[in-house]
């Protein structure tokens, strides 16, 4: 009798203790499109995850799943995370948009954060960075640096985010070099080193001496290095192991402050669905150090653009800008509104070729 009650008390105590621990810990899940070691996009998201762990220590538990294919399979992964008790789930690729919305419907108490998308609901926020601001800096350097006046661009998928980057880079390259041409290859993948390397080689063979990439691996950097005399920019991550040549600068995604802020909000119970779109000014987009391969005056011009984008005195899409078909888009001095940018599906005047539909 005594023993039983003792055991019961112990069990009860233990149960309470576990429950208490479970309540204390906020569980944060991350769904990644590539491996954490890609050295680019997913790597930086994982750096953000590590920052959350460093910030909150024992109060938080993080889980992540790598190499999750975009589309229906990601729903399975998210559902599993939600079932395992995640309080907050970051889905970090554009193609997870509809799956995130679907799973969020089934788990109204779990908060979801979808990167780079535009569909929200009561428990789904979206967040993205104004990468196009970084592209403006890259375009400036590219326009100055190219000798062949051919800039190669490896596109991933023809979605607004990528098209925005192409337009922004092109506008700013043309601004400093009216003769510059862009050659665009669509790889239809975020991450396939062999394909990205082939695409970079082809662009170099066709005369490009600057390669911009919107894919996630370092393969184009390696291809440019082999070719020599070709410059590249780190994508999503610094990729400084390829500096000072071919990598002369980079766009760095810094997700850590946002991830910490949102985790804190879940802990405090103040989390609300919202849309975050921050750029260089807020620190979500960083510009990697511009290497010595870039002449001092070019570096200065690039840093000037960066500064004016950061303090808001300049918008990367400032008129006059025409669309590819010659129709007017932005009048003199007019800046693009976020709605148009978010759904951008057209090239600006001067770019050749069509966006695959």
């Amino acid at each position: 009798m005594k023993l039983t009650s003792l055991l019961a008390t112990a069990a009860l105590g233990l149960g309470l203790a576990t429950a208490a621990v479970a309540q204390d810990k906020t569980k944060v899940g991350f769904v990644y499109v590539g491996p954490v070691g890609d050295g680019g996009w997913t790597y930086e998201h994982d750096q953000g995850r590590k920052a959350v762990v460093a910030e909150f220590g024992d109060k938080v538990e993080t889980v992540y799943v790598e190499n999750v294919a975009e589309g229906p399979d990601s729903e399975r992964v998210m559902t599993q995370m939600a079932l395992d008790g995640a309080d907050l789930i970051f889905t970090t690729s554009f193609g997870y948009m509809d799956p995130t919305i679907n799973v969020a419907k089934k788990f109204p108490n779990v908060k979801f954060e979808h990167a780079t998308g535009y569909k929200r609901s009561d428990n789904v926020s979206t967040y993205s960075a104004r990468f196009y601001e970084g592209r403006a800096v890259q375009g400036t350097i590219a326009g100055h640096m190219t000798k062949s006046n051919i800039v190669g661009y490896i596109g991933s998928f023809p979605i607004p985010e990528v098209v925005r980057g192409i337009n922004s880079a092109f506008i700013h390259a043309r601004k400093v070099n009216p003769d510059v041409q862009f050659k665009i290859v669509w790889a239809f993948t975020w991450f396939d080193p062999a394909k990205e390397a082939d695409a970079a080689k082809v662009l170099i063979e066709q005369g490009a001496d600057v390669i911009l990439q919107h894919t996630d691996s370092t393969a184009p950097q390696a291809a440019a290095q082999t070719a020599g005399n070709v410059i590249t920019f780190g994508q999503a991550s610094d990729m400084s192991e390829y500096g000072p040549m071919p990598r002369v600068s980079s766009i760095i995604d810094d997700w850590a402050p946002y991830y910490i802020e949102r985790t804190q909000a879940v802990m405090d119970g103040t989390w609300e669905s919202k849309d975050t779109w921050d750029g260089i000014g807020a620190g979500m987009v960083g510009i990697g150090e511009i290497s010595d391969a870039v002449p001092a005056d070019v570096k200065e011009a690039a840093l000037a653009i960066k500064a004016s984008l950061a303090d808001g005195s300049y918008h990367a899409f400032t008129g006059p800008i025409k669309k590819q078909d010659g129709s007017d888009w932005l009048a003199e001095g007019e800046t693009a509104d976020d709605g148009t940018l978010a759904g951008m599906n057209f090239y600006v005047e001067g770019l050749e070729g069509d966006i695959p539909q």
């Binding site: 669509w186 239809f188 062999a194 082939d198 082809v202 066709q206």
Partner: protein, 306 residues
């Protein structure tokens, strides 16, 4: 559209590079199938070869040692297939698929600490005068040694199968293993050697991707090349030179379609992207109209007491 931007010399040179992994894997599998064994594990052996070669190259600093290691790695993995199909007499199709799945997983495990590292580069052939020749110089004399090894292997396998006694025995085992056994040939031993040769070739092909074509290690980087090599063997009617043609055709169309995209040709990208598969299949189907069939014992299990 500006087709003049496409440089034919560089185009041919880079299509040879794109074709070499497929060629190496296909030649290995061709020998395996000629011996009457169907090994669907090419993709798995390639990716294990890719990481073995990459790891050893990084550790030792020598790409040559790396390529040697990739061949050994591929051959070791194929021993698993040997164990399943030649000793335990398991179904070859199922064993081969298992080998691919195992290889993909095992290679990710092996490669954990090699992500994001740059391997030492293998030098390119540089013969004074010859490499500098216009047009044919970059195409014929400007590549890495492994590319030539691929072509040499094709020639060697062709000569071996056609003119030598070893080749005759190998073909006999593949056509009718009971008859070959009755004549006193060691069917299982011959097949084991063929399978290991196939594994070594697939491993080399994988390492060619991770050490020369890309060059870096990432999970799943062979991205289906092994399956293409497998299909190529069938479409090439088990003939080495046709396998070479098919591999170059496939590599060629892959590179050409990227070139056309970059040159701004107004064909929808999706059609360009599927063209390598379509064109290779169509051409090889036309070539293989001459009824040269599969080895008669292909995929059949042999047991001496039956």
């Amino acid at each position: 559209m500006d087709l003049s931007a496409i440089n034919p010399v560089l185009l041919i040179a880079s299509l040879m590079v794109a074709a070499t992994p497929i060629l190496l894997a296909a030649i290995g599998e061709l020998v395996v199938e000629k011996a009457g064994v169907l090994n669907l594990g090419v993709e798995g052996m390639m990716i294990v070869g890719a990481i073995s070669g990459f790891a050893i190259t990084v550790e030792s600093g020598s790409p040559w040692l790396g390529f040697l290691a990739s061949a050994i790695g591929g051959a070791l993995l194929s021993l698993l297939f040997v164990l399943l199909t030649q000793v335990a007499l398991a179904n070859q199709v199922a064993s081969g698929l298992a080998l691919t799945l195992f290889g993909l997983g095992f290679s990710s495990l092996m490669g954990q600490s090699y992500v994001g590292i740059k391997p030492p580069q293998m030098g390119k052939l540089d013969i004074p005068f010859l490499t500098d020749l216009p047009f044919i110089g970059p195409i014929l004399f400007g590549h890495d040694p492994i590319l030539y090894l691929g072509i040499a292997l094709t020639a060697a396998v062709w000569a071996l199968l056609k003119y030598t006694r070893v080749g005759l025995v190998l073909r006999a085992v593949g056509e009718n293993h009971d008859a070959a056994h009755a004549l006193g040939y060691k069917v299982v031993r011959i097949r084991i050697m063929a399978i290991m040769f196939g594994g070594a070739c697939a491993g080399l092909g994988g390492a060619y991707i991770s050490l020369i074509r890309v060059p870096q290690w990432t999970e799943g980087m062979t991205a289906g090349v092994g399956w293409i090599a497998l299909a190529l063997v069938v479409f090439a009617s088990w003939k080495p030179w046709r396998a070479l043609l098919g591999a170059y055709l496939f590599g060629g169309v892959t590179v050409v379609q990227l070139n056309l995209q970059a040159a701004g040709v107004a064909i929808p990208v999706e059609y360009l992207a599927m063209s390598p598969y379509l064109i290779t299949i169509i051409v090889l189907v036309f070539l293989s109209r001459d009824k040269s069939g599969a080895p008669a014992s292909l995929g059949r299990i042999f047991h001496a007491t039956h």
